[in-house]
Amino acid sequence: MDAKPRLAVHKFSSCDGCQLAFLNQGAELLQLATLVEIVHFAQAGFVAPDATVDMAFVEGSISTPEDEKRIRLVRKNSRYLVAIGACATAGGLQALRNRAPGGAGWIAEIYPQPGHIHALPASTAVSAHVPVDAELWGCPVNGRQVLDAVRGRLFGVTPVVETDKVCLECKRQQGVCVLVAHGAPCMGPVTRTGCGALCPRLHRDCYACYGPAENANTQALGRRLADLGLSPAAIARRFLSINNAATAFRDAGDRWQEEDHGDA
């Protein structure tokens, strides 16, 4: 039998929620530890940030000069690099600061001495800095996603890339469409599946935490949200939320913001 693959979990700018996809697995995490050698996963007590590994999971966006250096090192040391979560795949909610004309100005408003704060002008996805081998979208990713990726790697294959819309899963779960039946401004029709259609099953609108699906018709959905009574500014906010820097959503958000300013 081959040596166990070596695994690392690295954290960048994030809320730590995606790492919990591992830490919340309980007994399965212990099982994982028998299948792979966990080399670096600081929160779980494994510390070897500079070790070379077979498979690295990266949580968080790149947002400081130090992050930039570190992600290159992680890339160099990892045969297979998986970006996990909205921060690592699209810059995260914190990428909203990329849009602020004065990102630095914001810092000044929160910190009395902004000079001590070292940050890059933008919070960006891992793929903006180094090549990634796979991306698992979601805020947060869940255990199924990360364990599938590890299992696939053990079988020598890449993870399945889920690109379908939330709606499909919503219907498989026999969910009642909240947009049609309640007029809720659901983002399911443009959002990537993976969560199990949690929000519509709890009778609420999806807020797109899994990022854009393939072939997302953001224009048509935006118009529908307008029919439901949302203002252009509110529609823009729907797109410019958790995955605001993902291309499809950023573009849609820009368009509706322009519309908003046009109206004003």
Partner: protein
């Protein structure tokens, strides 16, 4: 068809009890999450008594009304499809030994005998289509077959079509004509029952039915006729297969693609759509793996992806595939159109795209 007898509204529980006594799990309509949903039904009180639906493209609302009717609504998002063609189904389990040997086991479900109350004519027509697909094709599908085997169907004639319904134009409703065991027609005091099979006739004997009066029969007929007349939509009355395939470059495809979300809701609620995808789900330890099939849709990228190429990469092609299949090549495959006029794809399309309007627009019946 002559009525077998009359069931008072207050005796609906007797019907459910009789079904249970006959060994059936009973599934029926009930109000949940703001829609009428088919689920296990334990008591007649849970039926949607006094509820009415209002449907239009992209919109569905339930409201109360003060008549005692239980079936004064058209249909909800589901037909019989989820009961037979499960939205997720394990097809086989594979186990791998330490030596690498593989063992495959089938996972055919042990279906329980199920009685469905409140089946609409359009759903019976769709059931016939799914039977053709899953049971009468190259090889019958054992999963569908297992669930289909012990199905007892109690139809209810449609008397309150929605604005989105057009079963008259597809020839599938509003009256349930065949394919049921028992059919009920709701009137002011209760239900006129008609047996549609030997099992249904046998079962009717266990119900507290009284003789139906001609007046009641006439009233029901009048209601069904009025329901048919009330339908506002229809498919163009022409050879749609020929017309669609003659119009593959029609600009309307491009236009509908600007509205369509390519979300697949229409295919998911469609009672005849059968596409599904199969995937492997190994356990973390790698010792076993399940092959699972799930509802898929021709509106997804994966549906037509072959390595490196997506045959239908854009929405124009996906919508066209759906419509040309549903209204066109179904004729070649199953001898009739794949549309039974239930109108679900119109109501449950989040942006309200209307199949009858698109078909008319593309096939050119007046308004292009």
């Amino acid at each position: 068809m002559a009525a077998t007898g009359f069931l008072l509204r207050g005796h609906m529980q007797n019907l459910l009890d009789a079904l249970r006594a006959a060994g059936y799990r009973c599934v029926g309509p009930q109000v949940r999450d703001g829609a009428i949903i088919y689920d296990t039904l334990s008591q007649a009180d849970d039926l949607p008594w006094g509820w009415r639906d209002e449907q239009k493209p992209g919109r569905y609302r339930l409201g109360r009304h003060d008549s005692p009717w239980g079936f004064a609504w058209a249909n909800g998002p589901q037909g019989l499809k989820p009961l037979l063609f499960a939205s997720a189904d394990t097809l086989q389990t594979a186990r791998r030994t330490d030596e690498g040997a593989l063992h495959f086991e089938s996972a055919t479900p042990h279906a329980i005998a199920t009685a469905v109350l409140g089946v609409r004519a359009c759903d019976l027509a769709a059931l016939r289509l799914q039977d053709q697909h899953f049971l009468e094709g190259l090889v019958p599908d054992p999963h569908y077959a297992a669930r289909r085997a012990d199905l007892f169907l109690i139809a209810v004639h449609c008397t309150h079509p929605a604005a989105t319904c057009f079963c008259v134009s597809t020839g599938d409703g509003p009256r349930a004509e065949h394919g049921f065991d028992l059919a009920l027609g709701e009137t002011e005091e209760g239900f006129l029952g008609t047996a549609g099979s030997a099992a249904g006739a046998g079962f009717a004997k266990r119900l507290p039915l009284r003789a139906a009066e001609p007046r009641e029969q006439d009233a029901l007929e009048a209601r069904i006729t009025a329901a048919a007349a009330a339908q506002q939509r229809s498919l163009p009355a022409r050879d749609l297969r020929a017309a669609l395939f003659a119009n593959l470059r029609h600009p309307r495809w491009e236009e509908v693609a600007t509205r369509c979300l390519s979300c697949g809701n229409c295919t998911a609620v469609c009672p005849s759509c059968f596409c599904h995808a199969q995937s492997e789900e190994p356990t973390l330890d790698g010792l076993s793996s399940m092959s699972v099939r799930r509802w898929d849709s021709c509106f997804t990228q994966g549906h037509s992806a072959i390595h490196g190429i997506v045959i239908r990469a854009d929405t124009r092609q996906r919508y066209r595939q759906w419509l040309t299949h549903k209204l066109g090549s179904w004729h070649d495959q199953y001898g009739r159109s794949g549309c039974v006029g239930c109108g679900r794809c119109i109501t449950w399309c989040p942006v309200g795209i209307d199949i009858t309007e698109e078909a008319a627009g593309i096939c050119g019946s007046g308004h292009v």
